[in-house]
């Protein structure tokens, strides 16, 4: 008998404009001790499925049809109250966002102890002892100290370990991990996934791994369930599916996943440097002590090439990019962009594309107004020529002309990012700074935007400064790479050098964190 059997599960959400099916008749099974990865893009219904299994659908969500057999008992129809005996005890949940999932006013120890107390596992003293065991088990040093700390005193990775401790506290048969590492840096991500693997080996817990990252799914699961638009597109053994995907959609996902396709390295063109940064230093004041976000950074970017700044959160890469785009003033050091004017004229030469395609477009403007804005600011042409230019730009980024009259909220994330790129190109800049510009997008959309960027570079001779935490993406698009850590550049070289012959320990660690095929 399977540990968990999902049969024809259908879930829908009630909204102000009628109901919407989020999951449509999906079936799969999970054996004891097995890791099954549910992969899919945003909106594919994978998180809804996870929530339905543990009885935590939002109040407007209902299971319309189907059975969820946990050890042979159908729990799909159970009330939330009745599910309390299952949650934690038989099914554990590792939530998505470690920074939001812990109570900020309770100590970490109290929160782990809570799950033991709710299920009445022993008196105060045994619970306290068990909490320390668990903290040690998930690899947190000094459990006695940690147990008395509050969530804000811990890093993201440590918080995720605490959440894992809570999930395994009662040694459940099944742990649902909903994007457990998406909010974490790559090196931390790897350690957390290793921990989940270890725990599985030790307790024989089955794991349902919900992820958008095919690279993670490929390396960590026994079987794959590929979801799309609320349905199961394909399922089977991970190795078999990856080797010979049956569904066209799976094949496209594999092609688009930057971590799973090894392309040729791009060799830098032999041109003169356009961006030259010398000994950049940026200090912020945190309380009384100055905090050095960028500490003596120097690099050059050649005309028509792409230079990537890679690093984890807090490495100073975004601050560096903002200094190049003159949204921040360096405390010391200089950055020059060849051919760029002073003050406002500088903006005609250097443009910035933001990470979040939802926040960087004014929700009240139409797409036409958004793309036209730079032209209006610089008074380029009259109304007619500007409108013609806007149409040309929208076509240039491969958007249909009918988006012009629409508002940003009517567009998908990828389409919005295209609009942001069109806006950046409007005044004909030579340098474009891309700050995590594809990080918020699904892999398929990400691949399309990367292709678009490459094409624009070829046609318009653009120079890119590409900020990213994702080495697989960087490998694909950049000519040269600087690896940043704690405000310093620890390694610089062509993409080929950095990826095939890393000199610095930290670069090696970063590379080890990306899944196999590209290394």
């Amino acid at each position: 008998m399977s540990l968990l059997e999902v049969d024809d599960l259908t879930v829908s959400y009630r909204g102000p404009y009628g109901g919407r099916r989020a999951v449509e008749g999906i079936s799969f099974a999970l054996e004891p001790g097995e890791v099954v990865a549910v992969v899919g893009e945003s909106g594919s219904g994978k998180t809804t499925t996870a929530h339905a299994l543990i009885g935590l659908l939002p109040s407007n969500g209902t299971i319309d049809r189907g059975r969820i057999l946990l050890g042979g008992t159908d729990i799909a129809t159970w009330s939330s109250r009745r599910m309390e005996s299952v949650r934690g005890a038989r099914i554990g949940l590792i939530p998505q966002d470690p920074s939001n999932s812990l109570d900020p006013v309770k100590t970490v120890g109290a929160q782990i102890g809570e799950v033991l107390r709710i299920h009445r596992r022993g008196d105060r003293r045994t619970i306290a002892r068990r909490v320390l065991d668990l903290l040690a088990r998930v690899g947190l040093p000094d459990p006695e100290v940690r147990a008395r700390q509050y969530p804000h005193e811990l890093s993201g990775g440590m918080r995720q370990r605490v959440l894992i401790a809570i999930a395994i506290a009662l040694e459940p048969e099944l742990v649902i991990a909903d994007e457990p590492t998406s909010a974490l840096d790559v090196t931390v991500q790897r350690r957390i996934l290793d921990l989940v693997d270890d725990l599985r080996a030790e307790f024989g817990t089955a794991v349902l791994l919900v992820t958008h990252d095919l690279g993670v799914a490929a390396g960590r699961s026994d079987r794959l369930v590929v979801m799309r638009d609320g349905g199961v597109e394909e399922q089977g053994g991970t190795r078999e599916v990856l080797a010979a995907p049956a569904a066209a959609y799976t094949r496209r996902l594999l092609d688009d996943a930057p971590a799973l396709t090894a392309r040729e390295f791009r060799t830098p063109p032999d041109t003169e440097p356009v961006i030259v940064a010398r000994d950049l230093v940026k200090e912020f004041r945190v309380g009384r002590r100055p905090f050095r976000a960028v500490d003596g950074v120097s690099f050059e970017v050649r005309r028509g090439s792409t230079h990537a700044l890679v690093g984890e959160s807090g490495s100073g890469k975004t601050t560096t990019a903002r200094m190049v785009a003159r949204f921040a003033r360096p405390t010391r050091g200089t950055v020059t962009v060849a051919g760029a004017g002073a003050d406002r004229e500088f903006r005609r030469h250097v443009q910035l594309v933001y990470q979040d395609p939802y926040g960087s477009l004014d929700p009240r403007q139409s797409i036409a107004q958004i793309v036209e804005e730079p032209l209006r600011n610089f008074r380029l042409g009259d109304g007619d020529t500007r409108r013609a230019r806007v149409r040309e730009l929208v076509e240039r980024v491969a958007l249909p002309p009918d988006v012009l009259g629409r508002r940003p909220r009517e567009l998908s994330g990828g389409q919005r990012q295209r609009v942001a790129i069109a806006r950046a190109l409007a005044v004909g800049p030579e340098v474009v700074v891309l700050d995590e510009a594809v990080s918020a997008l699904d892999v398929t959309v990400q691949a399309q935007i990367l292709d678009l960027l490459e094409e624009l570079q070829r046609d318009l001779g653009l120079t890119y400064l590409f900020i990213s935490h994702d080495l697989a993406v960087v490998r694909q698009i950049s000519h040269t790479v600087s690896v940043m850590k704690k405000g310093r550049i620890v390694e610089f070289g062509t993409t080929q050098q950095v990826f095939t012959d890393p000199r610095h320990e930290y670069t090696r660690e970063l590379l080890a964190a990306i899944p196999e095929p590209v290394r």
Binding site: A325, F327, R344, Y354, G359, D362, P363, E373, A420, R423
Partner: protein, 259 residues
């Protein structure tokens, strides 16, 4: 509820615009023989001590109360939002200075502040309206500053500067439209509050002069007959309550839509 609220406001606006359609009686000249009659088919709201039809007085009075409230909200909205916008957008010393003045205004009870202003300006319908408006400047300034500060952090505002926008253009094109939602909801709410405040000041005798059928004055005049003729205070009071409730209801629905 929302439809009902709009109907109430629409009816009151129509009273103000074309009072003759709703009542044939004269609001000023009374018929002494018909004094202090209870509500009936002939006199919907009854009559007062000099035999004037109360319904006619309420209908004709709506124009004073509504324009008063309108002026009050306009003063508060324009001055308050301008201050808030400048403070929020400029930041620094200007922000500190404006907001401290606003703090002082907020620390004085609204009615006391309005009375102080009336003593400076002298009584009268328009002066009362301006006084009430000044009382609400602080609330508008606070709210609009908070919204401006929030919107200024948005990526799209920085992107607008990044695409070569100058400060006033960005403020006008992006910051103002995106901060206005809650401010408009507050304006609808303030409309009700202003009617109440103007009626209060009318009741206290600072507003319109006696024969004028202003709502607060009507209630005040009826006070002497409370024991014998309940309708003189109750019915105009009910109208005021209905309008204020309708305004706050509409404010809530605006707030929810624009959120």
């Amino acid at each position: 509820m929302r439809v009902l609220s709009w109907i109430v406001i629409a009816v009151v606006v129509l009273w103000a615009a074309v009072p003759g359609v709703f009542t044939g009686y004269d609001p000023i000249a009374g018929v002494p023989a018909e004094k202090l009659q209870p509500p009936s088919a002939e006199h919907l709201f009854g009559t007062d001590a000099v035999g004037r039809d109360l319904f006619a007085r309420v209908v004709h009075g709506s124009v004073h109360s509504l324009t008063g409230a309108f002026v009050a909200v306009a003063v508060g909205l324009l001055v308050g939002t301008l201050l808030g916008l400048l403070a929020g957008a400029a930041g620094g010393l200007l922000d500190e200075a404006v907001m401290r003045v606003v703090d002082v205004l907020l620390s004085v009870p609204a009615l006391l502040l309005a009375l102080t202003v009336i003593i400076l300006l002298g009584p009268g319908t328009v002066n009362v309206a301006i006084a009430v408006g000044i009382g609400s400047v602080a609330a508008f300034a606070r709210l609009s500053r908070a919204e401006v500060v929030r919107v200024r952090q948005a990526d799209y505002v920085e992107a607008a500067f990044g695409s070569g926008g100058r400060f006033p253009a960005v403020l006008w094109r992006h910051v103002l439209p995106n901060s206005l939602g809650p401010v408009i909801a507050l304006a609808a709410l303030q409309f009700g509050v202003a009617i109440l405040a103007i009626s209060t000041l009318g009741f206290l005798g600072y507003g319109a002069e006696p024969p004028t059928p202003e709502w607060g004055l009507l209630i005040s005049e009826g006070r002497n007959y409370l024991a014998t003729s309940w309708w003189l205070t109750t019915l105009p009071g009910t109208v005021v309550v209905a309008v204020v409730l309708a305004a706050s209801r509409i404010s809530r629905s605006i707030g929810r839509e624009r959120a």
